[in-house]
Amino acid sequence: MAEALLEVSKLRAGYGERAVIEEVSIAVAAGEIVTIVGHNGAGKSTLLRAIFNLVPDRAGTIRLGSTDLFPLSPDRLLSSGVAYVPQGRSIFPKLTIAENLRMGGYTIRDERLLARRIDHVNTLFPVLPERRAQLAGTLSGGEQRMLEMARALLVDPQLVMLDEPSIGLAPRVVALIFDTVKLLKREGKAVLMVEQNVRAALAASDRGYVIELGRIRLEDAGPKLIDDPRVAQLYLARRAYTQR
């Protein structure tokens, strides 16, 4: 791996006394797609939320290049180059697509800069300008995810974090979403996503981590992990069982 852009070290996070992730150390290089897979409840979403300072109790270090991200509030994180697309629909269904995009540029004071960025995003996602006056709630699930990713690009982030972008989508649309993730990479963004759609997500990733019960257990190149028997072993706790 090239020099790390995002570097998370010994991160512990949870809610009250309930630690959800412990001793988590991960890195993402510039322009790299990194996916974290693991069971429901393993701590995937909490990890992203902790990086974005949305979890009450945290310890550890989080850096982006030379910037210490740990103490920054979510709005400061946005202006420091980190965008976060949470799980579930985060679009504004009663606003138009054009209005949704403008909301993504809410922190940008310079109207001309905002217009330039919206233009650029519209060229990347041609489906959006075609439907700019349409209410976002009328888009299909896959289109809504694309709108979220497009919106995240408006702050011109260095790192985009995606929480289960493929959840609830039909298999054909899932492929489209992972193509869009690769588009983010071509735009020079680093991508950190968590996924339960294990094989499809790893196939689209440069590297992957497997998280189990709040700890990172495995790390390797994405395509290598797809057929790594250790992943299945972790999912079905075979190692632990044979120890008994």
Partner: protein, 250 residues
């Protein structure tokens, strides 16, 4: 053989989403059963149907050889069904003992809540004895008279689980009991569940994502995927099943 718990052809749809496509299984042997499956497999919906929290669109639910399809939760409680939820639910301002005694109110009579604390009858003595025994099972005897709010998260979980057991249910549904419980308390939980099932004939059906925990504890595992039962077998059989691996890794 008697069906302790059976579901037959259960379907449940929420709008355009099919949560349960067609679920059937029967449990005749007393014991601990794990219910696992990827996110969205339908596990919690199935619990809701069995416990009467939601009505199935089709199919039958059988408890103790009696058809209970569509019965309301209070009737199912009388029939011996108890459940816990993913979110921990204890009465934090009441003592641990009081938490258990609340749950031990006679479910077949219209008793007022206050009576359970004032009447010194046989029921109360039996309930007290049972409550103390259960607190002991989860190492909470020292906290019997302390408010549940002083307990750690894991201890509150343990209290909640023995609370569901005080009426000696025939069918106990536990939704992710191990979630967020630290390793030391997990051992206590494992031991307590084994002791509880040994005390009576019944079915503990446990949804769990901590595979180490459930594979070590359960007699048998039922795997759900996309609203149907994908596989059923011993933990060893399930761990060796390519179909189960496929379901998880997609």
């Amino acid at each position: 053989m008697m069906k302790l718990l059976a579901v037959e052809g259960v379907r449940k749809r929420y709008g355009g989403v099919i949560a349960l496509a067609d679920v059937s299984f029967a449990i005749e042997q007393s014991g601990i059963y794990g219910l696992i499956g990827p996110n969205g497999a339908g596990k919690t919906t199935l619990f809701d149907v069995i416990a009467g929290n939601t009505a199935a669109d089709n199919g039958r639910v059988i408890i103790d050889d009696r058809e209970m399809t569509g019965a309301l939760p209070y009737r199912l409680v009388r029939q011996g069904v108890a459940r816990s939820f993913q979110e921990c639910r204890v009465l934090s301002e009441f003592t641990c003992l009081e938490n258990l005694l609340f749950a031990a109110q006679p479910k077949t009579l219209g008793h007022g809540i206050a009576q359970i604390f004032t009447r010194r009858d046989a029921h109360r003595r039996a309930a007290l004895e049972s409550a103390r025994h259960l607190l002991d099972l989860v190492n909470l005897t020292a906290y019997a008279d302390a408010p549940a709010s002083v307990l750690s998260f894991g201890q509150r979980r343990l209290l909640e689980i023995v609370t569901t057991f005080i009426m000696r249910p025939r069918v106990l549904l536990l939704d992710e009991p191990a979630a967020g419980v630290n390793p030391a308390l997990l051992e206590t939980l494992d031991r307590a569940l084994r002791a509880m099932i040994a005390e009576r004939t019944g079915v503990f059906l446990i949804v769990e994502h901590n595979m180490t925990f459930i594979f070590a504890l359960a007699h048998e595992i039922i795997v759900m995927h996309q609203g149907v039962v994908l596989e059923r077998g011993t933990p060893e059989q399930i761990q060796a099943s390519p179909r189960v691996v496929e379901a998880y890794l997609g």
